[in-house]
Symmetry: C2
Subunit: 150 residues, 2 copies
DNA sequence: TTATTTTTGTTGCAATTACAACTAAAATGC
DNA sequence: GCATTTTAGTTGTAATTGCAACAAAAATAA
């Protein structure tokens, strides 16, 4: 059967490695760009939702956001409707970084899709969304201690 | 244009997270399964090649392999033709782990491809290999200090 | 209501990750 | 030949990552 785990892992590590190197000149440390773009696009998002979207441990996300806050890139305000939740927003400083990151991501996306026709690009994006949906439930289950049988 | 970076990243993190949790009962720590399967399939492979295939920093791979060696899972022998190189091989203990990892990976791959026809699976695998090729040169270049213009 | 469970977030660890900087050997250039 | 560059691997250091274990608020149950 076709194997997709390995290329997906290699592509993800390569793109992440490139971004981390390129964003060092923005004083962003490893992984921070991921959180930044999501918060910029979904202002008021809370930690657990962000971690679920990105598929990282919530404690990892927590510390990344703490650092972004310390560095004045995001700020957090208690939710008016739920005292447990802290809504996350971009500062002006953070807003200024967003287009730079977005431009880099767009470029990497173009490089990744070189030689693909528009129809192929759409089809690949559709496939990947289906794969993500397929795997999301298992990720949550295993994270919560569920044992998969195979 | 179609966006593929985000789902690829999310899928890779989800699958990696699942594997790392499931392989803890094999006494494998984070990431080690990646190196193990490649060494099992390409006995005698050297560090730099392994790092290039996996798209991780060579110092990361070096320390992962040092630990696998300490734990008796792989062993290294100097190359007979090049005194710089150290060839990496599986021990009997490591060989015993391979089928377990392989079975898990196969299962995750099946979950990921649920709802895909055989033709779609092949097509997705083909697309991903093309993307990997597209991005490999940029990864190496940026890793070596090259500055991309965009 | 009151008790229990789920949601949301935080710290304490222990480990991986990777940029610098460095050796030693091989390959290349002149 | 001999000097320079490239290949291959290691260690120092600093940071992210994430499993446990916890606390507080909200939702659910009884």
């Amino acid at each position: 059967m076709a194997e997709i785990l390995r290329p997906i892992g290699a592509i993800a590590r390569a793109l992440d490695g490139i971004s981390n190197i390129e964003f060092k000149e923005l004083e962003l440390s490893r992984g921070q760009y991921l959180y930044l773009v999501r918060i910029a696009e979904q202002p008021g998002i809370i930690l657990e939702r962000l971690a679920a979207i990105l598929k990282v441990d919530k404690t990892t996300a927590a510390r990344a956001i703490q650092k972004l806050e310390r560095n004045g890139i995001v700020e957090r305000r208690p939710s008016p409707t739920d005292k447990k939740q802290k809504q996350i927003f971009m500062t002006a400083k953070g807003q200024a970084l967003y287009p730079i990151i977005h431009r880099e991501n767009t470029y990497s996306n173009q490089v990744a899709l070189q030689g693909f026709t528009p129809a192929e690009r759409d089809q690949l994006a559709d496939y990947l969304n289906r794969v993500e949906t397929n795997i999301a439930a298992d990720w949550t289950a295993v994270k919560h201690g569920h044992h998969r049988n195979y």
